[in-house]
Point group: C2
Chain length 333, copies 2
């Protein structure tokens, strides 16, 4: 568990895209952010108060989160000065970078000297069990995609927000680095050892109140040959009661696989549902989440209407038009 609230470190981000982790935290957990720290040359801005480490500490921040991708896979000396000082001042550090905080001798030494924690969220920190498949109390929803990176995480986060606003019991369960930094905990599923993947998802989504929903962050796709095993572990470890079908209509081939066409929503439904019912015979497909960001609004609305009619399921772009239809579908289960 990463201690909140955060000071978001934007470093010398060359552009806003380089700070997309910070943007995710800002968008989805604004209450976790007391401010931002920018270095000279930073071209990203979360619209938060710019703070020094002293000011952030006075404002209650507990952890400095590296919300920016570094250049060239090295943690630069200009970052190091700030990060070491943060440890000296009593902050923990959290990062989803490929090159790990713990592999930097000066950060490791400063953390040890000051009793602080380095959270490298790309690396599992728990010895996960092997999945036992035993039915758990509470309900779980999982988005499965026709491809990777079609909006599964945003679907779960939109539903989580809508459900909280309605006073429903809901928890977003992060399975990737950005999700973990947004919420402060989770399982970095793509870095888990094969035998423990499904068990890590069981661990992440334990027994809960009968009317509580876990909104599990999806990963990969059953149709993406590079990562499909991760997806199936998520389906079987998560034993979802509800599946959401996620799709991005303008994608011309599977991400990173030029020779592979995307499946239809029907093929996704017909593949994912029987597999999900192995772990939870009550599982239902309850709706479609369509990422329409590449479509003008009229075209997006027409596409959603067509999907609803064709699939006989509610369809929305939850980020653009709200997650209400999907939450209605969960509420009626």
């Amino acid at each position: 568990m990463i201690e909140t609230p955060y000071l978001l470190f934007l470093g010398d981000a060359p552009d806003p895209l380089a700070a997309k982790v910070a943007q995710g935290i800002r968008d989805w957990r604004p209450d976790n952010c007391v401010g931002q720290l920018r270095l000279p040359g930073c071209n990203a801005d979360m619209g938060l108060t710019d703070m020094t480490l002293d000011e952030a500490r006075a404002a209650g921040a507990r952890t400095v989160v590296i919300g920016v991708a570094n250049r060239g896979g090295v943690i630069s000396q200009s970052w190091k000065r700030v990060l070491v000082e943060a440890l000296e001042q009593g902050f923990d550090l959290a990062s989803g970078l490929h090159n790990l905080l713990r592999d930097e001798a000066d950060l490791r030494a400063a953390a040890a000297a000051h009793g602080r924690t380095l959270h490298d969220v790309r690396v599992p920190s728990v010895a996960y069990p092997i999945a036992n498949g035993i039915k758990r109390a509470g309900k779980r929803c999982l988005a499965v995609g026709t491809d990777c990176s079609v909006g599964k995480m945003y679907t779960a986060l939109c539903m989580d927000r809508e459900m909280r606003e309605r006073g429903m019991k809901a928890t977003f369960r992060a399975t990737g680095q950005t999700g973990i930094l947004i919420t402060g905990n989770g399982v970095p599923l793509d870095a888990v050892i094969a035998d423990f993947m499904a068990g890590s998802v069981e661990w992440l989504t334990p027994d809960n109140d009968p009317d509580h929903w876990d909104l599990i962050e999806g990963q990969g796709s059953l149709f993406h040959v590079s990562f499909s095993g991760v997806t199936l572990a998520l389906i079987h470890g998560g034993q979802p009661d509800a599946l959401i079908l996620s799709h991005e209509p303008t994608r011309t081939h599977m991400r990173g696989l030029p020779g592979y066409a995307l499946p239809s929503l029907e093929a996704l439904r017909d593949t994912a549902l029987p597999l999900a019912r192995v772990a939870n015979p009550e599982c239902q497909v309850v709706g479609c989440s369509i990422n329409t960001k590449s479509m003008p609004e009229a075209e997006a609305r027409a596409y959603l209407a067509e999907v609803e009619q064709r699939m006989g399921l509610p369809a929305t772009d939850p980020f653009r038009f709200g997650a209400g239809k999907l939450v209605d579908a969960l509420a009626s289960l």
Copy 2:
């Protein structure tokens, strides 16, 4: 790659079952075994010549393979004396034990001092790539099971032997610890990090002659919620041309999952084949491999006849009645 031939170390095996790794090597690669080394109290016997380390070295052995499970998860002092001496004499060591050779300071020191290699086959030794899904030359066959431990490895090994005897081009591709020790190389798939599972299988089964068959050792089951992700990675990374359906008819529930019934062979076919065709549209289900060891012969033969008739596919117990029917099916593809 583990250097052959081997001296099989049987230690103080309390019973033959404790030496099942040695038995597998003895059964499937007898040419790799120059002899066996037994300590006082050993109750296992591979029918090989008992040898001292000196004698094994004179007979050409290059690696001492620990073919026995150790008691209580520790490598005992009586084993240590032999293993250290083996390193001093110029042997490598290979082991599939849970507690690793490399974690024993005295073995590590002796290996370093004498320039020898400690092969812990439970741990991947390669930085595997992420799968790219590109079609490879040559053909591949994979056994998929209704459950774990139904005979998928033995099916592949039986077919490999039959194909070599017929002069066909075939390679058994190990994906588990015992298979790796039998053949000297492979991928310990259950220990690979999630993102690299399918890529490790692509790495294991590279381009080959058009008439060459890789016989890939299966793992887990699409219906076993603890390990199904490993199975799907194997299907998508292996991009098989031929699937064999493996089943053990007397199993009353999924291994280790008392609440889970086994699927039918029909359900296995209908689940595995569409998933396999994502990676290889030409994939066919070519036969059934039934583990009949718990059935009297007449009952086994009647069961196989019933499966053939019901599934419209050749069915055999390859270990008991030969793999000829399955190899015929591959040859006719």
